[in-house]
């Protein structure tokens, strides 16, 4: 009789672990083990036909430091992230505030803003390919009507990266808008009434009431935006294939080329490890540092 509470507790623990087991098994098999295997692979040479993989220590990382395309991909990716993150979040917030108002055709506008999110990126990229086409593309017809000279948007290294960035922003903003819209709908309407009675301007109300209350959403959206800035490369395959002359090569695209075009799996593993470490540390910083500044209700 005396042992029963203990036995009950351990039984509950076993029960709990059993319930966790399926998820745990999947997570270990498809996330943790591959991550560890990648780390191990990054210290070995790429096996080729009859030549098995050999321990090479940090050689793959030395190759990376010497690889000019890798560094160009890092630079490109920083520009890409630096532009897509603030632009897509800002645009999402603006659109959410706009469609949160009472107005005619609200559902239609919401749907229009959300449509890019629903479309597959490959289809989207094919549409944008014809937007950017020189001479008769949509963009050219527009700038041509204004009397501006013709440009080869995707074929010129000075504009190509900006072009693929715009596509990513367009694709992402609608998705983030949904989160902001949901958050805005949960705000207490009496706050707005109180602000109106006090005579607060719209801007003041946004800055002092809505924005602080939206902070948890912003944190969530920010983490997603950062991850997407390194993950969203589908459109590169259609629009530029990393060209011209690597002007639009992003890290993940470079990784794909090294891994599945050059079949240099050892080097690809090294790039993966770096990418994972960078992304994990960014996420950790966001959780531990920014989280403290977020105001939860």
């Amino acid at each position: 009789m005396n042992a029963s509470p203990n036995a009950g507790a351990s039984q509950r623990a076993v029960h709990a672990w059993l319930l966790l087991l399926p998820a745990l098994a999947l997570l270990v098999a498809f996330t943790h083990w591959p991550a560890v295997a990648t780390l191990i692979d990054s210290f070995f040479s790429t096996p080729r036909g009859a030549r098995p993989a050999e321990w090479v220590g940090l050689e793959n990382y030395a190759v990376m430091v010497d690889d000019p395309v890798f560094w160009q991909a890092v630079r490109n990716n920083l520009w890409f992230a630096g532009a897509t993150i603030p632009l897509s979040i800002g645009l999402a917030l603006l659109m959410a505030l706009w469609v949160n108002e009472r107005m005619a055709g609200r559902t239609l506008v919401r749907m229009a803003y959300f449509t890019p999110t629903v479309l597959p990126m490959i289809a989207v990229a094919n549409i944008w390919l014809f937007f950017y086409t020189p001479q008769y593309g949509l963009l050219e017809q527009f700038t041509g009507a204004l009397g501006m000279p013709s440009r080869n948007w995707l074929g010129d290294p000075s504009t190509a990266l900006a072009c693929v960035t715009v596509v990513a922003v367009w694709k992402e903003a609608g998705f983030f808008m949904i989160f902001y819209l949901a958050a805005l709908q949960t705000l207490n309407p009496s706050l707005k009434e109180a602000a109106a009675i006090e005579g607060a301007s719209r801007w003041y109300f946004f800055r002092r009431v809505q924005w602080p209350l939206l902070m948890p959403t912003t944190l969530f959206v920010l983490i997603n935006a950062v991850i997407n800035a390194f993950r969203l490369v589908d459109h590169i395959f259609i629009l530029t294939r990393g060209g011209p002359d690597n002007a639009t090569t992003l890290l993940l695209y470079h990784l794909y080329e090294v891994g599945f075009k050059f079949w240099d799996t050892g080097y690809a593993a090294a790039i993966t490890v770096v990418l994972v470490v960078v992304l994990a540390s960014v996420a950790l910083i966001q959780f531990f540092v920014l989280d403290k500044r977020v105001h939860y209700k």
């Binding site: 013709s150 002359d245 075009k261 079949w263």
Partner: protein, 428 residues
């Protein structure tokens, strides 16, 4: 009661499955075939597999549509690494060295035993075999092969005062024609470029349409050495760059995929692209168009070949390999090769196929279909080396840098040569 019926049905179904399995005893031959999207071509391939299976009881060739060429080789090589490759796959002829390096494919010579087999292997156009053989062995069977040709707008030629029945035959004529064909509006913007050579994706292939007439090869036969910094290669790239500088060719990098559309929209009077676009151009050009061989310079004309070969995978079971070989042999017989050429627009792989009544008749009705064949005697192998995709990317980047003006042709190609030498150092 319900449960009992369920179990009964289940066991009956299982029994039936066992029975059919035991009865059939057919040999499954998985066959990866690259096709980006579904459509008419998958039906054609299904049709061939069905006809072959009917003629060969006990064998079942199963086509598996695996995406683009790039996606297909990724799938095939991953399957090879896991120890369960397909019996056969159609992959780019230029992937030969990659597949050899990965120890993934078996030489075709292992299966060629009878005199009839030997005669069949000799029957292909030598230009296509150049990309299928190395080190004295044959590794691929030519199947869907192409070359590069020049498409030109005959109406634009007439407007510009050029003879619509005579395409530019050399670089001088080509440049002159391009100049005459370039049209500008009142404010000086170009409305129609004289010539357009695409430079995304297959830039190295397009460069070969300039280096081949300039009588220079980009790589040796063993695929271990490249000659990017040869003065003749630099001259060829300069010719391309100067077309853009002179304003008769679009500036910057030109997209491969939209080039046919630029031609239909009359934004480019001459385009240089694969014969694989012939059916597309025939269906969509709303004007009279001509197809011509690549213009010559030092020597008369000359184009690289392109397209896909059959490969047989080494780790597949022996009987699957043999069946795959039979299938490849069957599908490249003159009659089938001729039918395939008409169905797909690819060049038929043997002279015998062009002697079949069906293809003869087709050629008389639609002469542009024969241009690619007539070009074969002066055609060379598509650029291919060990570490193929990596070296190709180096060359593509160099071409794009030159076209964008970030480097001179000479500088770009010298840098590319150094980088390619570094990549290929272990193969010497």
């Amino acid at each position: 009661m319900q449960r009992k019926t369920f179990l009964k049905t289940l066991s009956a179904a299982a029994l039936a499955a066992c029975a059919t399995g035991a009865l059939a005893q057919t040999l499954e031959v998985p066959f990866y075939y690259p096709v980006a999207v579904g459509g008419p071509i998958t039906k054609v391939i299904d049709g061939y597999a069905e006809a072959f299976n009917k003629a060969h009881p006990g064998v079942k060739v199963t086509p598996i549509y695996a995406g683009t060429y790039q996606e297909t080789i990724v799938k095939a090589l991953t399957a090879h690494k896991s120890g369960k490759p397909p019996a056969t796959s159609v992959l780019l002829s230029t992937d030969m060295f990659t597949l050899i390096d990965e120890d993934a494919i078996a030489p075709i010579d292992d299966f060629v035993k009878t005199d009839a087999d030997k005669a069949w292997l000799k029957g292909f156009y030598p230009a296509f075999m150049a990309n299928s053989q190395t080190g004295g062995k044959t590794w691929g069977i030519p199947f869907q092969r192409s070359t590069v040709v020049m498409y030109y707008n005959k109406e634009a030629f007439k407007e510009a005062g050029l003879d619509p029945n005579k395409a530019p035959a050399n670089w001088k004529e080509l440049k002159e024609a391009a100049r005459k064909l370039t049209k500008k509006d009142a404010s000086g913007n170009v409305t129609q470029y004289g010539i357009q050579i695409p430079s995304t994706g297959f830039a190295y292939w397009m460069l070969q349409t300039l280096t081949t007439p300039n009588d220079v090869l980009l790589a040796n036969e063993a695929g271990t050495k490249v000659t990017f910094d040869n003065p003749k290669v630099i001259e060829a790239l300069d010719f391309w760059v100067n077309l853009a500088k002179d304003g008769v060719h679009p500036k910057g990098v030109v997209e491969w995929g939209t080039t046919p559309k630029d031609f239909f929209e009359k934004k480019a009077a001459i385009i240089i692209t694969t014969t694989g676009n012939l059916t597309n151009v025939k269906a969509n050009a709303k004007f009279d168009f001509g197809v011509a061989q690549i213009a010559g310079n030092v020597r008369k004309g000359g184009s690289p070949t392109g397209g896909g070969n059959f490969y047989i995978f080494k780790k597949a079971p022996k009987e699957q390999q043999q069946a795959a070989f039979e299938f490849a042999k069957w599908i490249t017989q003159p009659g089938n090769a001729a039918q395939w050429s008409m169905d797909s627009g690819y060049v038929a792989v043997s002279p015998a196929a062009y002697d079949t009544p069906a293809l003869k008749k087709y050629g008389q009705e639609f002469p542009p279909a024969l241009v690619a064949r007539d070009q074969l005697p002066v055609s060379v192998a598509e650029f291919s080396t060990h570490e193929n995709q990596r070296v190709t990317k180096v060359l593509n980047d160099a071409i794009q840098a030159a076209l964008n003006g970030t480097k001179t042709s000479a500088q770009a190609l010298k840098d590319a040569q150094r980088e390619a030498d570094r990549i290929l150092r272990s193969y010497k």
